[in-house]
């Protein structure tokens, strides 16, 4: 088999520690502890190996990446390897001093998450009092420094009606981009799907609001919009194809094709402590397992769209059908598509489980 194309982007999940407890967090249910985290020297080696492999962008994420005391050092190191550096943060640990240090290290872009525009709603989702004021302060600091700013909003049943105000806030805070991303239902999000999944009417209203804002603002504010695929008939090309463009490294050094890949059973998770990033990307069974189209069952195998959607999402296939090698059940051609249709009809719930270490479900 020929060498695969190198990844474009590295998501460096520096830590799973976070002051917030959002119930749709993309981290796995089994959160990693501080004692398991990679040290600074190993992260620097990983950044060197990523740049040599062909990665162009390093996204520093978490958990809350600002909980790592070596963040500035890692950003500077990434820049020294000509990587584009992006900080994905909640903003609650950002102050003028740390921002200045990050700017001097060469940080290229900041993505700042907001849970809502409504303070009570935001702080109920994030589970941290006082967070909203800190986030607003952080956004103003970033804008004043002149670093390009993207506001990230994860939307769901409890905040989706405020999409127009979210876009207005992004504009007021001087952001050049805003992401309106519907919750994706993996891990914590799947656990809390009953509370978070919007109704079809809510989705349609949000979509119309985004389209209206795009018309109103034109190129002055880029709006990225991610829909919840439960209402779709065609799957998303998850991660641009398994092991094709994107590599994720967990706090303990596990190398993954996506955030949720640790749910895949019966496969060894390769670790940067044991092997080089290029050896893992090119040859690790976790990466070759679903790369390309050879692994595909029907109806994907004979489908004209197989190199468009790459069979959709492996983790969603696993979560909803019990087998990661099945066609993503979002696809109307999947024999399990009725499971997605049933989920959108389910009675909604009002309680959710916070993403916290003490809430990690027990596994037998």
């Amino acid at each position: 088999m020929s060498t695969p194309s190198p990844p474009m982007s590295l998501l460096a999940e520096l830590t799973h520690r976070c002051p917030l407890a959002c119930p749709y967090c993309s981290n796995p249910l089994e959160l990693e502890r501080r004692t398991a985290e990679l040290d600074t020297a190993t992260w620097k080696r990983v950044l060197d190996e990523a740049a040599a492999l062909g990665v162009l962008q390093a996204h520093f994420s978490g958990g809350e990446p600002m909980a790592r005391s070596d963040l500035v050092e890692l950003v500077a190191h990434a820049r020294s390897r000509d990587l584009y550096t992006n900080l994905i943060t909640s903003g609650v640990m950002l102050d003028a001093t740390r921002l200045q240090a990050l700017a001097e290290a060469g940080l290229d872009h900041v993505q700042l998450s907001f849970q809502d525009v409504d303070e009570a709603g935001a702080e109920r989702i994030g589970g941290l009092r006082g967070a909203q004021a800190k986030k607003l302060t952080a956004a103003r600091l970033v804008a004043a420094e002149g670093i390009p700013l993207t506001l990230n909003f994860v939307v769901h049943r409890l905040n989706v009606e405020r999409v127009p105000a979210m876009i207005t806030l992004a504009r007021e805070l001087g952001a050049s981009r805003v992401e309106i991303a519907h919750t994706q239902y993996y891990g914590w999000g799947l656990k809390n799907r009953g509370a978070l999944l919007p109704t079809r009417e809510q989705l349609e209203e949000a979509t119309a609001a985004v389209e209206a804002a795009r018309r109103a603002y034109g190129p002055t504010l880029v709006i990225d919009y991610v829909t919840p695929d439960y209402y779709a008939d065609q799957p998303k090309p998850c991660m641009g194809g398994w092991g094709q463009r994107f590599v994720n490294i967990s706090p303990s050094g596990r190398v993954l094709p996506c955030h949720a890949a640790e749910t895949i059973p019966g496969v060894i998770f390769p670790n940067v402590r044991d092997e080089s990033l290029s050896a893992i990307w090119n040859d690790a069974p976790l990466f070759t397992l679903f790369r390309g189209t050879e692994w595909m069952p029907e109806p994907c195998r004979s489908c004209a769209l197989k190199e468009t959607d790459w069979g959709g999402c492996r983790c969603q296939a696993l979560a909803l059908t019990g087998d990661a090698a099945n066609t993503d059940p979002v696809c109307s051609l999947s024999p399990f598509h009725n499971r997605v249709k049933a989920a959108v009809e389910e009675q909604r719930e009002n309680e959710f489980l916070y993403r916290r270490y003490e809430n990690i479900p027990e596994f037998s």
Binding site: P6, A52, Y84, I147
Partner: protein
């Protein structure tokens, strides 16, 4: 008819950079959440954009380097830079 004044000095906007991608053998413009591939012509122009050199001088240098008619180069440079200014990749 050119859009940009000859004496204006373009520079990359904050958070936007040109780099050579030696692994893939292309030049790319790095930007928030995207990387745009610069074709060889665009890459030749953009390597001269450093916040010091004017549009006029960029055209002069390219005309000398490529031994091409100045007005042809001027049209290409103006079209490229105007587009990138509109997209906020460059500032003038």
């Amino acid at each position: 008819m050119n859009n940009l004044a000859p004496d204006c000095v373009p520079s990359f906007a904050r958070g936007h950079r040109l780099r050579e991608d030696v692994v893939r053998g292309v030049w790319v413009i790095q930007a928030p959440e995207k990387a745009l591939i610069a074709d060889p012509t665009a890459a030749a122009v953009l390597q001269l954009v450093d916040g010091q050199v004017s549009v006029h001088e960029i055209i002069d240098r390219l005309a000398a380097a490529y031994d091409a008619p100045r007005e042809v180069i001027a049209g290409d440079v103006d079209a490229l830079l105007t587009d990138l200014v509109e997209r906020k990749v460059l500032a003038i």
